[in-house]
Each structure stands twice: as structure tokens, then as C-alpha cells.
Symmetry: C2
Subunit: 342 residues, 2 copies
DNA sequence: ACCTGGCACTCACAGTTGACGAGTGCCAGT
DNA sequence: ACTGGCACTCGTCAACTGTGAGTGCCAGGT
């Protein structure tokens, strides 16, 4: 069932007006605000068809029309052109990100920037450990039977764990362990480390074996197996803006969902390896029940052409899709470049 | 103006009932639910006096009475006894905190635990760098002109910064630098490091001076001067629970205030060095304008008898003060013990 | 085949009214 | 010093009404 040119134009007009005004839009208002060269009655007929097809609906008789999730989907896929960022926005991105001192700082600034630019809730996943490679492993003696294991990845993440040694190990021995471990693991992607770590333990002479076993179990258990994904969140206050209309008043379930890191990861964690793709999930399409009244725009980011993490924003289905998509994409690209510089 | 015994009892009853039911409480309900051996009319007289003194007020004529901020203050200071935690709660604390792998994990678990137990918004400050001491400084060569500076503190915080060297430095030299720095700074409280760092630079022979200058400036600028306080937040969904009644509907300003780390630090950042003191800020007493309709219960925590950071919860002025105070105190003590073990 | 003006119809919304009841303050009596 | 009684206030709720926006449909025009 193909919709003719004008009906599509009507749908676009409805989406744009509704997003802007937040009020159901009627046939008269439509012909007035857009240059549709026909009468309201004609538009009404088109609207009736659009409603039959499920693209728009009436909140109640004698109200204007509102886009359905399906309508937004068609709009996003076929009717919208991506808005280029304004120079002011470009400058905002650079100014905001300048002077970040470490990865934590980068992630925090990014998430706040996104929230501010889109005026929505922003989510940024830290570079995934699973997709990072080891840059360096450091062993720092804390006492004779305790080591601090510090792992630095190529994406700038630094993780540290305390290792309890079964028996005292002298400093010189620690140095040798460090060297051995680094020789084996340097540059290896975390997901590929398990067999190498195992080999390290197996090949070690008896003297070192106990210590290496302790270290390797900490390494494998808390850094490799437990996919320790971290998340930063900002802009929840933006949810409260149109809460009454957008979420019929109850922010609670949404705020609750946002506190579950697992949920957030599902939303923006990129299964998509290509960071140049931006995904849009509209209302219903969302798997998480409590977020059925929201839309999510997300993408991956990374120093090269493969994503190491995801980021995105979440807002009411009634959102400015073209603008949001452009902003999320631009910020992700910028962060990717920033990461590439280290 | 001293209030006699019964009037205080009436105030306590009003606070308790109002906190429980969230509805203005009238004289009849009061005599029915509490064993005040007098008639409603008598209570009404007492109430009139309590109202004159500013401890309670009427939302409108012909409604019951509601405590004022001043009334809550009197209640907290004089009328409430601290509820001991239930065994279930004690067990919850232990179960929840067990198996934390690093400081990040401890802080995250703590803040979620607090939010869950009190059913309010919880805030936890990371151990303040300013109050921590250096346990170890590590220099990790990334390339010949780049070092990763990793600082580990006695409170378990690990911070890392990239240092750009003006000229290449060989690995052996890096080892000597590391040793020199650690000898000088090990165990020193961060606040006391600047003169020592300066001395290090001054005493260094010319060969090392350039590298040391680079390192010291990163150290001083981003770790010592910039009081890099970090904060974890959880339980914002709890705000939405009674939002309509407690905050006349607008969560927005509160959520906004909670996104400002500076604001949160003011709230719970302990100026109080003694972690056994629990502070309560009620409504008006709060400095931050947008949080005038909330109360904050906070305390310091630390491995010993001085606080290294603060934690607390924020909720509507109508909150269960005795329970909240007890919970915050218990969690803070538990975390303190946990930190002492490292 | 498509568009248009006209018209009857629907229905949310806002404002009004009145009954109800919770709660008070006051006073006279014990 | 407390109590019962009583008049009074005022918010809440439900029922009712008028208004206007917006629709669907139809008959007529191009």
C-alpha cells in the first residue's frame, strides 16, 4: 500500500508540528502552517487514510491527530533529512571536551555534553574491556603478601585489583613477574587473554607458580569474565520537563529503569561494530517494558572503525529525531577522534 | 517558652502520624491513635499553642495540622530516639557489601545500598584526595616521550594521568625517577605534597630536571590543586514516589540540583572531621534554594576516627528521621571498617 | 477521479453549583 | 484545667452545562 506524495507530506507536517507544539494537530492548523495547496477537508481525507494505515491516531474524537510509533518510524526512515549541526553546536562540543584529563573525565564530559545539547537523558558506556587490548600490566607491592594489580588498556581505562599472595614474594621477584606478564600480554585484546594467562601459569617454574596463580585468577575472574561494563548517565532532569504529557505523569518506572546498568547497556551497548551507524529505537520497539513510552537514539564510538563502546540519548517518543541523530553522531565522532589521539 | 510534657507528646504524635500517612492530622484522629488521656478539644488547644510557636501549621482552615521545618527540628533534636537497625537490615548491609572488588565497587554498592534501605536518594563521596595519603606512585612508559602516572592512595583511590615529556627518557631513567619520587612522597598526605614535590625538582640534577618538572606539574595541577572530588548517586527514582505531595509536582529543580556535583558536595561533603556525628538538615536550613523542600541526613566515614569522605541521603522533609539516621550511621560505620581492612 | 464547502455530530475542557464533611475556635459548664 | 457542644470555614467531590475544536460525510463542482 503506497502512500502518495501528499499523504507523506501530511505525515511529515503532523510529526513536525506535534514535536514542536506537543499538541494534537488538526486539519485546519495544518494547511495554515504548511503550504499544502488544498483545503482542510482534503487533508481530513488523507488523515483518515493515514489513520487506517496506523501512522497517526486520535487521542479522542474531536481532537487533532498524533503520530503513532509507526508514524515516527516512517518519518525517521523516509521523511527526515539529517540536520547539519550549527556552528555554535560544533564549537560547544570542542569547548566542552577540551582539557579532559583522563578517561573518566572524557566520559563525564561527554555525557553531560550530550544531555545539554539534546536536552534529553544521555548515556555513555565506558570503552568495553572486552574490546580493549592490554597496554600494560603493573604489579605494585603493597606488603610482602599483597600486590596491587593495575591494568591499563589501549582505550585509556585503568583498572586495579588487590591480589592476596599465598606466601611472601620479594620485590625482585615481583619485577620479574611483571616483565614476564607484560611480554606475554602486551597488546593482546582482553577477550584473547585466557589461554595466554593459562600458558603463563603452566610454563612458570615452581617458585613463581603460586604467585602467578593468584594473579591470574584475579585477572581472569574480575577483569575478563565479569564483563565489567561501566556507564555514565546525565540529564535526568530533562525527563521532568514534559513529564505530564509525555509519560502520563509517572517518571518512576523510567527513573528505575535508568538505574539498572544492565538495562542501559542493552539500550546503548553497541552490538553493532560499526560506529558510523546510528540506531533509533522508537517506543514499542524497545525491549524494556517500562521504557515503551520513550525513544532511544544511539551509536557506537571508537578510535578507529570499530566501536569500543556505545553512547546515546533517551527521551519521549515525541522528540526531534533529525536533530538528535545529528548531535549523537557528531559527539560520537568527536570522542572517537579524541580516543585515537592517545 | 517551655512547652509542657503533653504538648511535646502531641507534636511527636503529629510528626509520626504525618510521616506515616502523609495527610494532615486532626485532633480526633490524634486522640484515637495515641493514648493521650484527654479529649480532642484539649488537644486542639495544645495545637493552637504549637501553631503559635511555629512548630506546626494548617495547610488551610479546616484541615488537620502538619509539622513545620521547625517542628521537625524539635522532633529530631529532642523527641526522637534512634531506632536500632533490624537484624534483617544488618544482614542486608553485609550481604550487599560482600565481594566488592575495588574502591569503585565499594562506593557503588554503598550508594545503592543506602538508597534501597532508606528508600531515598543516596549520595556517597569518594574518599577525598585531599585527605588521603600517597601509598605509591607509579610511572609507566607508554612511549619514549609519554608516561602514565598512576597514583594509589591509602584509601584505595587510584588516579592516572598522562604525562608528556619534553624529551625522550630511557626506561632505566624512569625507574630511578619512580624510586626518587616514592622515597620522597610515600605516606605523605596529598595536601602536604607541594613543598616536597618542589624540593624534588630543585634537588634533581640537570639531566632529570625537565622530566621531573613535567611530572610534578601534572601531579600538582590535576591531583592536588584541582580538588577532584567524585560523587556517586543512586535512588533518584525514589523521589518520584510522593512527588505530587512532597514537592508540589516539580521534580525538575531537584533533579537539576542533584546533577551538580558541587551542590552535592556541599550537602554531604563532611566539613565535620568526626565520622560518628550525623548531621540533619531540614528544609529551610538547606543552603541550596532548590532543595528547600528536602531534608538531608549525612555523615562522614573513614577507616579510623577521621572522615575521608561523606555520605548521606536526601528526601522529602516528611521522612522517617530516626530510621534514616540509624541507617546512614550504620552504613557509614560499616564502610569505615571495610576501608580499614585495606 | 479528485477536490471542496457545508453541516451535523462528538467530546474534552473549563467553569459553576451545591451537598458533604472534616476540622477548627470559642464558650459555658464542671 | 479539662470537656461537650455548637457555629463556622473551607476544601473536595460529583453533577451539570456551555463552548469550541475537530471530525466524518455528503452533495456538488472541476
Amino acid at each position: 500500500m503506497a502512500l502518495d506524495e501528499r499523504k507523506l507530506e501530511v505525515l511529515r507536517a503532523i510529526v513536525e508540528d506535534y514535536v514542536a507544539t506537543q499538541e494534537p494537530v488538526g486539519s485546519r492548523a495544518l494547511v495554515e502552517r504548511h503550504q499544502l495547496q488544498v483545503s482542510p477537508a482534503t487533508i481530513r481525507n488523507d488523515m483518515a487514510i493515514l489513520e487506517d494505515e496506523g501512522y497517526i491516531r486520535q487521542p479522542h474524537t474531536s481532537a487533532g491527530r498524533v503520530p503513532t510509533d509507526r508514524g515516527y518510524r516512517l518519518f525517521v526512515d523516509k521523511l527526515s533529512t539529517i540536520k547539519p549541526l550549527s556552528p555554535a553546536e560544533r564549537r560547544a562540543i570542542e569547548r566542552f571536551m577540551l582539557g579532559a584529563v583522563d578517561l573518566d573525565d572524557v566520559v563525564h564530559r561527554t555525557v553531560r555534553l550530550l544531555a545539554q545539547l539534546t536536552r534529553q537523558v544521555a548515556v555513555v558506556q565506558y570503552p568495553s574491556l572486552a574490546r580493549s587490548a592490554v597496554r600494560h600490566l603493573e604489579l605494585i607491592p603493597i606488603s610482602t603478601t599483597r600486590l596491587m594489580l593495575v591494568m591499563i588498556t589501549d582505550t585509556g581505562r585503568v583498572e586495579q585489583r588487590l591480589v592476596e599472595l599465598p606466601s611472601p614474594v620479594p620485590d625482585t621477584e615481583v619485577n620479574q613477574l611483571r616483565q614476564a606478564i607484560n611480554e606475554k600480554l602486551d597488546g593482546v585484546r582482553l577477550a584473547d587473554t585466557p589461554p595466554l594467562v593459562q600458558a603463563l601459569v603452566d610454563e612458570a617454574d615452581v617458585r613463581r607458580r603460586a604467585a602467578l596463580t593468584a594473579i591470574s585468577s584475579v585477572l581472569l575472574e574480575t577483569l575478563v569474565e565479569r564483563t565489567d561494563e561501566r556507564i555514565a548517565l546525565a540529564g535526568t532532569a530533562n525527563l521532568a520537563r514534559g513529564a505530564l504529557l509525555d509519560f502520563h505523569g509517572s517518571l518512576r518506572p523510567i527513573l528505575e529503569a535508568l538505574e539498572e546498568e544492565v538495562v542501559l547497556l542493552k539500550l546503548i551497548g553497541s552490538t553493532e561494530p560499526d560506529p558510523s551507524v546510528t540506531r533509533v529505537l522508537i517506543g514499542d520497539e524497545n525491549e524494556i517494558e517500562h521504557l515503551r513510552s520513550t525513544s532511544v537514539v544511539s551509536t557506537g564510538y571508537g578510535p578507529g572503525s570499530t566501536a569500543v563502546g556505545g553512547m546515546g540519548v533517551l527521551g519521549p517518543t515525541r522528540m526531534d529525531y533529525p536533530g538528535t541523530i545529528a548531535t549523537v553522531g557528531a559527539v560520537a565522532r568527536y570522542v572517537g577522534e579524541l580516543l585515537a589521539q592517545n
